[in-house]
């Protein structure tokens, strides 16, 4: 474990405005802002969370549903901008937040490989080099020219996972996606993640399966209702969590 800080989360708070879902026309907005009801029902998904992740760490984020784990990952991935505080990320991020999000259903698998690769910042040439590896990992040799809308959900997940884990990203974010696919595929995924960890990739891992977390992670951040309850070594915190 080196001393390079890969992810620095400083006093991050994230506020969601629940009532802003309620208007989608000018008239309503004007009326509500006159009545001063616009910022009603604030919801703080994250409250003053701070931690650091070093290079080569495998950090597990655990907590009950609604504790803010996915929100935390989204701020690290750059998808959400925190309402307060800041997140500094040192390196390339490969996010695995909902497999198949970047797919365009009308395009074939082959075309989607290049589209998704571009989403991760890879040029067509780089993707050509990775292409065979992707096809063999996802075991979809015969289906690369079929439009993705005709794929089964398992096939979509396999393809998405293969594309997202190419190369050696500096930081890999895995948000509860290892719960899809048959057990053989899950094993393959775990092995690949482990291989990436061995090559120095920093891993941020969210899962409800404590067994998976114990296997893969060496540090844990335990979130409860948006606050960081515990942060430290995996072995101690796992025991506490199981007993809670």
């Amino acid at each position: 474990m080196s001393d390079k800080v890969m992810v620095k989360v400083e006093h991050v708070s994230m506020k969601f405005n629940l009532s802003s879902e309620k208007f989608d026309s000018f008239k309503e907005y004007v009326i509500k802002s006159l009545k001063n009801q616009v910022s009603f029902e604030e919801f703080w998904a994250l409250k003053d969370v701070s931690f650091e992740v070093m290079q080569g760490d495998a950090l597990g984020l655990i907590g009950l549903n609604g504790s803010g784990k996915s929100t935390m990952l989204k701020t690290i991935a750059g998808v959400l901008k925190p309402t307060e505080g800041s997140v500094h990320v040192n390196g390339s991020v490969a996010p695995l937040i909902e497999l198949g999000a970047g797919f365009d259903m009308d395009l074939t698998a082959r075309e989607n490989v290049f589209l998704n690769g571009a989403l991760l910042g890879h040029s067509r040439k780089e993707m050509e080099a990775f292409y065979d590896d992707i096809v063999s990992f996802s075991e979809l040799e015969n289906f690369m020219n079929v439009p993705v809308k005709n794929f089964s959900s398992g096939m979509v997940s396999r393809l998405a996972f293969s594309i997202a884990t190419i190369g050696v990203p500096d930081i890999l974010i895995v948000d509860e996606v290892l719960s899809v696919g048959d057990f053989r595929f899950q094993e393959k995924c775990e092995r690949r993640i482990q291989a990436m960890a061995d090559q120095g990739t920093t891993i941020l891992f969210v899962s409800h399966s404590i067994a998976q977390v114990k296997k893969i992670c060496d540090k844990i951040a335990w979130l409860e209702s948006g606050q960081l309850k515990r942060f430290g070594a995996a072995s101690e915190i796992c025991k506490e969590y199981e007993q809670s």
Partner: protein, 258 residues
């Protein structure tokens, strides 16, 4: 600033893929495919020429070319801004999961429309050659109004895309607005036909200026004039600045409204 440029370079392949996707999907499973980008404007021109030459008689020489050149400009503006408007909303699922510079979606729609514009421009040249109209050296100046138009549309597209995220009504309002705008631009009629009071409004319209500039160099073998150029550049510059400012100010909040 350099961070923005670096970011753009990193995501340039994505811009290419998004544009390629727009074009591929548009003509997938159609027999004539990409040929439609040429045929569509030609067919429209034929219809409009027949209608206006025989039903409303305007006193313009070479009416088909007059219409085609005006349509070229206006249709680009209409397509580019309308598709950019819904670009953020339609890419909602992507934006919520992966970090992508959001202006890229607007930019990709402007570019795809630009490719259509090039095809229409080719159609215009073909018609000019077929009707044995002289192609003057001023045609080489045609890229100037076209480029200004593209940048102007980018500015408009950015504003529309940002506002639409919060207020979806804009999509419906805009289609009415575009229809009205077409009648406020001398696409199908000559300027001389307008009543006094309306001429003022039509001249204020930035698209009018571009259409006039374009027609001057393509059809009438005249340089469009420094004044027109200056006005166009200023209008484009302002629109771009407004576009980027509105977009950047609101882009972090898009995800909360999608």
């Amino acid at each position: 600033m350099s961070a923005y440029i670096q970011n753009f370079i990193k995501f340039q392949p994505l811009l290419g893929e998004l544009i390629a996707r727009d074009i591929k999907i548009k003509y997938r499973r159609s027999v004539l495919g990409v040929l439609w980008t040429l045929l569509n404007p030609l067919c429209m021109m034929i219809v409009l020429s027949v209608v206006f030459s025989n039903i409303f008689k305007f006193d313009i020489e070479n009416f088909p070319l007059y219409i085609l050149s005006g349509q070229l400009i206006f249709n680009f503006f209409s397509d580019a801004t309308t598709s950019s408007m819904s670009s953020i909303v339609s890419s909602a699922s992507l934006i919520k999961k992966v970090y992508v510079p959001k202006y890229l979606f607007v930019l990709s729609h402007i570019f795809s429309s630009f490719i259509n514009l090039m095809a229409s421009f080719t159609a215009l040249l073909l018609v000019m050659m077929a009707t044995r109209t002289e192609l003057h050296w001023t045609t080489l100046l045609a890229p100037v109004p076209l480029l200004l138009l593209v940048l102007f549309s980018l500015g408009v597209g950015l504003v529309l895309a940002a506002v639409t995220v919060k207020f979806r009504d804009i999509m419906h309002l805009y289609s009415v607005f575009i229809t009205a705008l077409m009648y406020l631009t001398p696409v199908i009629y000559p300027m001389a036909m307008l009543p006094e009071w309306l001429t003022g409004f039509v001249m204020l319209n930035p698209i009018t200026n571009i259409v006039l500039m374009f027609r001057n160099v393509m059809l009438y073998n005249t340089f469009f004039g420094w004044r027109s150029l200056f006005v166009a550049v200023v209008e484009t510059g302002i629109m771009l600045m407004i576009g980027f400012w509105v977009f950047y100010k609101n882009q972090d909040n898009f995800i909360l409204n999608l």
